[in-house]
Assembly symmetry: C2
């Protein structure tokens, strides 16, 4: 999938290890999302975004929270003065699924819009 | 200061190690704030709040963000499905100041209101 296809895709309910992406597919998707890195032994992807001040970071978290609710796929966030750190993982598959990359692409799109 | 006095106080601009609270004062304030613990070798205080779902945690972060802007004293937050972890420290004094405890009390008050 291209970055644009990821941005336009919707998350699907996924449960079970059969939906966990193998390493080659993870790597193929990761190159479509510059700035995102593998974390937690490949079970998670993350990106750190920078902002001016606190409210920029919180506003971004809100926009991403809106998307997360729409997609029913939620990030773990760390935020404070000037930063918002985003982490996606799919606990129900025990690692990374297509949903994580879809939401990562949508997070990036918030900054591009 | 009592918990109530902390809740009603306002943060003041503080800069310099002379505003860093000594351990006995830190401990005296900490007992006024059940649930808060010392972190980072005594340079930070934190509390974890639990919520139902993602939006509860994000809404709490927003309310706390409003207070942080009013007080010009900002937390570091970690949030996701069902949780919001709050951390206060005063970088400009190199540890804990009265401002951290004031904002911690105001964070607790959000749940009591």
């Amino acid at each position: 999938m291209s970055t644009e296809e990821l941005r336009k895709a919707s998350c699907q309910p996924l449960k079970g290890a059969e939906h966990r992406l193998p390493a080659d597919q993870v790597n193929a998707l990761l190159v479509k999302l510059p700035g995102w890195t593998l974390l937690d032994d490949g079970r998670m992807i993350g990106r750190d975004y920078r902002f001016d001040g606190f409210l920029g970071a919180l506003s971004f978290a809100n926009a991403l929270g809106w998307i997360a609710e729409q997609e029913n796929h939620h990030p773990d966030l760390e935020l404070g003065w000037g930063y918002c750190r985003v982490r996606f993982s799919t606990h129900d598959v025990g690692g990374l699924s297509r949903n994580d990359f879809i939401c990562a692409a949508k997070a990036d799109a918030l900054l591009a819009s």
